[in-house]
C-alpha cells in the first residue's frame, strides 16, 4: 500500500491530465452503452405497455377480416355470447373525427412510424361493459351514463386542457351529418386507455356514435375478456380457435398485444445501428486507455528500471500499473454510469421525437448499471494489460543505459502476420457470408474488430514505406523541418502505430456514418420527393370523398390531382405466414401527372410497368419486400381481398419506405374492385407551371377548406420536416463519430507530447546549432501531418469496408436495399479532417517543443 501511495498515486498526480483523458474514454463508452441500452428498453417497454394499457383486460379482439373499414353487424354478438369462459363482450365503434371549430393544422406530425394528422379518436362504447374491460381513471366529473343514446363525451384530461375544454362544456364535432354537439361529462387521466391515439381520445355512448356517424347497428371491434383473468397461452389460444370457428372466416380474432410487436420490430432496425455504434464507442474508449497506458509505461521506463534495479519484482511493477488501471476503471465507469443516466434521459427525448410517441420515464435498471460498470472496469483492465506486461518486462540495465528506449516487442516486429491473417479472415467472412440473416450481423461486428485490429497491426511494418512516400509532401509543405519531422515517425513505431490507429478509427467512423447517412438519406430523399410529389399535400381528420379531388382539379391553377389511399391488408408471405402490410392505392394516370414512381434498379421499363399497373389485379411491391422475400417481377403476392385471398401479379419493384417499406402499390380501380374502398386518405395536388403554390393553396382553402375539413400543407414544408426528422435520427450516429474524432486527437496529443519529452535533448541540440522555434514547430507539425495522412488513408479504407458490413447487415435484417453512396467529397473531407485534426492536436506539443530550454536540454542526459 505504501508502495502504491508512493508510486501509483504520485504517478497519477503528476500525469493527472492524461489520467483524466483516459478516464474520459471509459466514461463515454460506459455512458453510451448504458444510455442506449436503457433508452431502447424504455422505448420498447413503452410501446408494449401502451398496447397492454389501451387494451385493458381484453385478451382477444374480434374485427372484420374485410378491409373496407365498414365494420360489421351487431348480430355477431349473440353467437359470441353462446360461448362460455367469456366474462365480458365489449363492442365498440371507432370513429376518427375532429373538433368542428378547431384551428386547422398547418403542421403534420411525422414520426418513424408514419404521420399522424392529430385528429380526435372516439370510441363508441357500452359504458358498463367498457368499464369492466378497461380501467379509466376519472380525474374530473363522471363517466358516461348508461343511456346509450345520450350525447355526452368523456375526454382525456390533457387533450381537454390543450383545447381549453372543461366539464360541462358543449363541444362540436364533425360528422357526416354536419357538426354535432356533445356534452363533456368527465375527464380521464392520460394513463392506461387514456394513452390511446397519443391522448387525442374520447369515449361516447355507442348508440350516439352509431347515430351521429351513420353506423346503425354496426361495430368495428369487439373486445373479449375471458373468465380467467390470467389465462395461460394455451388456454387463450384454445379460446381464440374456438371463437374463430364459431364466428367464421369473415372475422378475425387477434391478440391485442400483438399489435405492439410490429412497432417493436420496426424499432429494431434503428437499434441495430445504435448498438453497433455503442460497441464501437467502447472499443474506442478501450483504445484510448491502451494508448494512455502505453505512453505512461514508455515515459516511466527509467523509473521502472530503477525500481527493478533496487529490487522490485516484475509482478510488483505490473501490479502498480494494474492498480492504476483499476482506479481509472472504477472512476471512469462510475462517472460513466452517472453520465449514462443523464444521457438516457436526453436520448429518450430524442427517441420520442423520432418515434412521435411518448415514452415513459427511463428507468435505468440496476442490472444494467452493474453490467455497464463491470464492463467498463473489465475493458480498462484488458486495455491496460499489455502495457502492464511491458512494464514488467523492462530490463533494469537497458532502462538505465538508454533513456526511454525500450526494445520493440514482437507485436511490432511480427504483428503484421497476425494483421494479415485478421484482415484476410475478415474479408473472407464478408465475401463468403457463411451465415446469412441474424448471425451474419453478429459476425459483422466481429469482423469490425478484426479489421481494425488487423489494420493496426500492419502499421508498424509499413510505416517506413508510408514515410518515404509522403516525405516529399512534408518537405514541400514544411521545408527542411518537414523532412526531419517526417523521419521521426519511424523512430518509435509502436507509438506511431497507436496514434495512426486512433486517427484511423476516427476517420473510419466518420466515413461509415457519413456513408450510411448519405446512402440512407439519398434513397430516402428520392423516395420522399416522389412520395410527396406535387406541390400541395391535402389531408383531413375526417374521411375524404373522392369528389373533393375532382373539385380541386377543376380549380384554376391546378394542373393535376391524385387521390391516395392507404389501408392495411393481410398478406400471405411466401414463407406461409400472415403479415399485415400496407396497400397504397392511387389513380395511376393522375399520379404520373403529379409525381413519378421510383423504380428500384433498371429491371423494368417504367412506361410498360405503369401500363401493367393500370390493367388491374397487379401491384408494385417495395424493394424492401422484394429483398426480404426474394420476390421479383412476374411473381404474385397473395393479398386478402373482400372475396378471400387473391393473387396479384408483381409488375414493378419500387423504392417505398412507407410503413418501413412493408407496402405494395396498386391502382384505384384495383382497390375499389377487390377491397371495396372508395374514399381517399390524401390528395396530392400539382400546381400549374408559373402559378404560386401559396396562392393556389389559399384558393383551395377558401373554397373547400372549411367545408371538407381539409388540412393543406405545402409539400416543401413537409419535406423540410422530414429532412429535419432524418437529421435528428442520424444525429446520434454523428455524436458517436465525433467521440471517435476526439479520441483520435487525444491520441495525437499524447504521442507527440511523449515524443517531445523524449527528444528534449535532441531538440535542444537543434536549437543550439541554429534551428529557429518556428522550424521546431514545423518539425512537430510535419510528424503529426504524416500520421494524419496514414491514419486518414487507412481510416478511409476500413471505413468503407465497415460501412459495407453495416449495409449488408441492415439489408439482411430489414430488407432495406440501400444503394451504397460514398460521396466523393467525403473522401476528401475525411482526409483533410485527419490532417487538420492532427495539426490542431499537434499544436500544444509543438509549442512545448519550441519552448525547450536549450541550456537545460543539452545537459539533459
Amino acid at each position: 500500500m505504501r508502495l502504491t501511495r508512493l508510486l501509483t498515486f504520485r504517478s497519477i498526480r503528476s500525469r493527472s491530465l492524461r489520467f483524466l483523458l483516459s478516464a474520459f474514454g471509459i466514461v463515454l463508452g460506459v455512458a453510451g452503452l448504458l444510455a442506449i441500452r436503457s433508452t431502447n428498453q424504455a422505448a420498447l417497454g413503452s410501446i408494449s405497455t401502451l398496447f397492454q394499457n389501451t387494451s385493458g383486460l381484453a385478451k382477444l379482439t374480434v374485427t372484420s377480416s374485410a378491409v373496407d373499414e365498414a365494420g360489421f353487424s351487431e348480430d355477431i354478438l349473440s353467437s359470441i355470447q353462446k360461448l362460455d369462459k367469456i366474462k365480458v363482450i365489449d363492442p365498440m365503434v371507432t370513429i376518427r373525427t375532429d373538433l368542428a371549430d378547431k384551428e386547422r393544422s398547418q403542421e403534420l406530425d411525422i414520426g418513424l412510424f408514419g404521420t399522424s394528422d392529430g385528429g380526435l379518436l372516439l370510441h363508441g362504447v357500452v359504458p358498463a361493459l367498457e368499464q369492466m374491460t378497461r380501467n379509466y381513471k376519472l380525474v374530473n366529473g363522471r363517466f358516461l351514463s348508461d343511456d346509450l343514446k345520450e350525447r355526452e363525451i368523456v375526454l382525456v384530461e390533457t387533450y381537454a386542457e390543450d383545447e381549453e375544454i372543461v366539464v360541462g362544456d358543449l363541444i362540436k364535432i364533425i360528422t357526416p351529418n354536419g357538426d354535432k354537439e356533445l356534452k363533456v361529462v368527465g375527464l380521464i387521466a392520460r394513463d392506461g386507455p387514456g394513452q390511446t391515439n397519443n391522448g387525442s381520445f374520447g369515449v361516447i355512448p355507442i348508440q350516439a356514435a352509431q347515430e351521429m356517424f351513420n353506423r346503425s347497428d354496426n361495430l368495428d371491434q369487439i373486445d373479449i375478456v375471458p373468465e380467467n383473468s390470467n389465462p395461460s397461452t394455451a388456454e387463450l389460444s384454445a379460446l381464440r380457435v374456438e371463437l374463430q370457428e364459431r364466428i367464421g372466416k369473415e372475422y378475425s380474432v387477434t391478440y391485442p398485444s400483438g399489435q405492439g410487436e410490429r412497432m417493436t420490430q420496426m424499432l429494431q432496425n434503428y437499434q441495430i445501428g445504435l448498438n453497433f455504434m455503442s460497441g464501437i464507442a467502447l472499443f474506442v474508449g478501450a483504445f484510448l486507455i491502451y494508448n494512455a497506458f502505453a505512453m505512461t509505461v514508455i515515459e516511466r521506463t527509467r523509473e521502472f528500471g530503477v525500481l527493478r534495479t533496487i529490487g522490485m519484482s516484475r509482478s510488483q511493477v505490473m501490479g502498480q500499473v494494474f492498480i492504476e488501471a483499476s482506479m481509472l476503471g472504477v472512476i471512469g465507469a462510475g462517472l460513466g454510469v452517472v453520465l449514462g443516466i443523464f444521457l438516457a434521459r436526453g436520448l429518450t427525448r430524442l427517441m420520442e421525437v423520432i418515434l412521435n410517441q411518448q415514452i415513459d420515464n427511463v428507468l435505468v435498471s440496476s442490472p444494467d448499471i452493474m453490467f455497464s460498470f463491470l464492463l467498463g472496469i473489465g475493458i480498462t483492465f484488458l486495455a491496460a494489460g499489455l502495457p502492464a506486461i511491458q512494464a514488467g518486462r523492462i530490463s533494469p540495465i537497458e532502462a538505465l543505459r538508454v533513456r526511454g528506449k525500450s526494445k520493440e516487442g514482437w507485436i511490432i516486429r511480427y504483428g503484421w502476420i497476425i494483421g494479415i491473417l485478421l484482415l484476410g479472415g475478415s474479408v473472407f467472412l464478408l465475401v463468403l457470408n457463411p451465415f446469412p440473416y441474424d448471425v451474419q450481423f453478429r459476425l459483422g461486428s466481429i469482423t469490425v474488430f478484426g479489421l481494425f485490429t488487423g489494420a493496426t497491426l500492419l502499421i508498424p511494418v509499413t510505416v517506413g514505406v508510408w514515410e518515404i512516400m509522403v516525405r516529399p509532401l512534408m518537405k514541400w509543405i514544411y521545408g527542411a523541418s518537414g523532412s526531419l519531422g517526417s523521419r521521426n515517425v519511424r523512430r518509435s513505431r509502436s507509438r506511431t502505430t497507436l496514434t495512426v490507429a486512433a486517427l484511423m478509427v476516427g476517420v473510419a467512423m466518420v466515413i461509415m456514418v457519413r456513408g450510411m447517412t448519405e446512402s440512407f438519406s439519398g434513397d430516402l430523399k428520392t423516395w420522399i420527393n416522389a412520395y410527396l410529389g406535387g406541390d400541395i399535400y391535402v389531408t383531413s381528420t375526417v374521411r375524404l370523398r373522392n369528389d373533393v379531388g375532382n373539385r380541386i382539379q377543376s380549380l384554376d391553377g391546378v394542373a393535376a390531382v391524385t387521390p391516395i389511399r392507404y389501408f392495411n391488408v393481410d398478406w400471405k408471405t411466401p414463407t406461409g405466414e400472415t403479415e399485415t402490410i400496407n396497400f397504397m392505392a392511387m389513380d395511376v394516370t393522375a399520379y404520373t401527372q403529379v409525381t413519378d414512381f421510383v423504380f428500384s434498379g433498371n429491371t423494368v421499363d417504367p412506361q410498360q410497368a405503369i401500363e401493367n399497373l393500370k390493367k388491374g389485379q397487379t401491384v408494385f411491391i417495395s424493394s424492401v419486400l422484394a429483398e426480404k422475400y426474394g420476390l421479383s417481377l412476374g411473381n404474385t403476392v397473395s393479398l386478402k381481398s373482400r372475396g378471400g385471398y387473391k393473387d396479384f401479379l408483381v409488375v414493378g419493384i419500387v423504392v417505398d419506405f412507407y410503413n418501413q417499406g412493408l407496402v405494395v402499390q396498386g391502382d384505384w380501380e384495383t382497390m375499389r374492385r377487390y377491397f371495396n374502398i372508395r374514399d381517399a386518405s390524401t390528395f396530392l395536388v400539382k400546381v400549374d407551371e408559373g402559378q404560386s403554390v401559396e396562392q393556389v393553396q389559399g384558393v383551395i382553402d377558401d373554397l373547400y377548406g372549411k367545408r371538407y375539413h381539409l388540412n393543406l400543407i405545402s409539400n416543401e414544408t413537409i419535406r423540410k420536416s422530414v429532412v429535419t426528422l432524418m437529421d435528428q435520427a442520424f444525429s446520434m450516429f454523428d455524436v458517436m463519430a465525433l467521440i471517435s474524432i476526439v479520441v483520435g486527437s487525444l491520441g495525437v496529443i499524447n504521442t507527440l507530447t511523449m515524443s517531445v519529452i523524449e527528444r528534449t535533448q535532441e531538440i535542444g541540440m537543434l536549437r543550439a546549432i541554429g534551428t529557429t522555434r518556428g522550424q521546431i514547430i514545423k518539425m512537430v507539425l510535419a510528424e503529426a501531418a504524416l500520421m494524419g495522412v496514414i491514419g486518414g488513408i487507412l481510416g478511409l479504407g476500413t471505413g468503407i469496408v465497415l460501412a459495407r458490413i453495416l449495409f449488408i447487415g441492415m439489408t439482411t435484417m430489414s430488407g432495406y436495399q440501400l444503394t451504397f453512396v460514398l460521396p466523393p467529397e467525403a473522401i476528401g473531407i475525411s482526409l483533410v479532417m485527419a490532417l487538420v485534426i492532427s495539426q490542431i492536436a499537434a499544436i500544444p506539443p509543438a509549442i512545448r517543443a519550441a519552448r525547450v530550454r536549450i541550456l537545460e536540454a543539452v545537459q539533459y542526459e
Binding site: 523541418s481 535533448q761 535532441e762 537543434l766 546549432i769 541554429g770
Partner: protein
C-alpha cells in the same frame, strides 16, 4: 584580429532566494585560428561562459562580441541566426539525430538553413576525410562507435565554417584513447583550416592541446597559460596540472 571578445561579462542566477554570481566580470579576447581551453573546477562558471559565448544565453552585464556582432540583448531569433551562421557546437553526448545518416547529420546545419546541400558536396567530402569517416558516411548513429559519433559531431560543427567552434567536454564521454584522437582532430582543424576553437574541459590532457588555457574560479579568470607552440605536450600537461593543483588547493 580578434574573432571573439568578452567584455566585463557578468552572469547572475537566482537559486531559490539567493543570487549566484556565475560569472563575475570576465574579460578576454580570442584571435582567429586560436585554440583556447577553458578550465576550472566544478562550479567555476566555465559551462556558463561557454553558453554565453555561443549565444545560448545572454549576460546579465557586459557584452560579448562575436565576429563583430554584439550578442548581449539580441532577440531570440537573431541569436538563433548568429548560432546558425557563426557558431559550431560539439557536446559531451554527441547529440546526433538517430534518423539521419552520418552524412546527413553533418549537413544538418545546411539543411536547417535551407541551403542547397549539393553546393556543400566538396566541403562534406573534405570534412569526412578530415574526420576519417569517408567509408562510414551512410551509417546511422547507432551503427557508429562513440568516438565516430563525436567525429561526426565535429564535422557537423565545422560544416558552415563558423567563426568559432565551441566544444563542451568533448572527451567527457569517451575513453582516453578516443579522447586523444578527438583532441588531435580539433587541433588539426585549428592548424589546417584556421578554425577558431574553444574547448571547455576539466580534463588537463585535453587542455594540453590548446594554444592558451584560461583558468576560471568562482566566476573570474584567475590564471592564463600560453605555452610556446614548440613546447612538447607532456611539458604543457605538467604546467596545466600544476596550475590546477594550485587553484584547487
Amino acid at each position: 584580429m580578434s574573432v571573439l571578445e568578452a567584455k566585463e561579462v557578468r552572469k547572475q542566477y537566482k537559486m531559490g532566494e539567493h543570487l549566484v554570481n556565475a560569472l563575475d566580470g570576465v574579460d578576454f579576447q580570442v584571435e582567429k585560428g586560436e585554440f583556447v581551453a577553458i578550465m576550472g573546477p566544478s562550479g567555476s562558471g566555465k559551462s556558463t561562459l561557454l553558453h554565453l559565448l555561443g549565444g545560448l544565453d545572454g549576460p546579465t552585464e557586459g557584452n560579448i562580441i562575436l565576429a563583430g556582432q554584439p550578442l548581449a540583448r539580441l532577440s531570440e531569433r537573431k541569436a538563433t541566426l548568429v548560432r546558425r551562421h557563426n557558431v559550431g557546437f560539439v557536446f559531451q553526448f554527441f547529440n546526433l539525430l538517430p534518423t539521419l545518416s552520418a552524412e546527413e547529420n553533418i549537413l544538418l546545419p545546411v539543411i536547417i538553413d535551407g541551403k542547397d546541400q549539393r553546393k556543400y558536396k566538396e566541403r562534406l567530402n573534405s570534412l569526412l576525410e578530415l574526420v576519417g569517416l569517408t567509408d562510414r558516411r551512410h551509417h546511422k548513429p547507432d551503427q557508429l562507435s562513440g568516438g565516430e559519433q563525436q567525429r561526426v559531431a565535429i564535422a557537423r560543427a565545422l560544416v558552415t565554417e563558423p567563426a568559432i567552434l565551441l566544444a563542451d567536454e568533448p572527451t567527457g564521454n569517451l575513453d582516453s584513447k578516443t579522447g586523444t584522437l578527438i583532441m588531435e582532430l580539433l587541433n588539426r582543424s585549428c592548424n589546417e583550416l584556421d578554425q577558431t576553437v574553444i574547448v571547455v574541459t576539466h580534463d588537463a590532457k585535453a587542455a594540453a592541446y590548446a594554444d592558451r588555457v584560461i583558468f576560471l574560479r568562482d566566476g573570474v579568470i584567475v590564471e592564463e597559460l600560453k605555452p610556446p607552440k614548440s613546447m612538447p605536450l607532456a611539458e604543457r600537461l605538467r604546467g596545466i596540472m600544476g596550475t590546477m593543483e594550485k587553484l584547487e588547493a
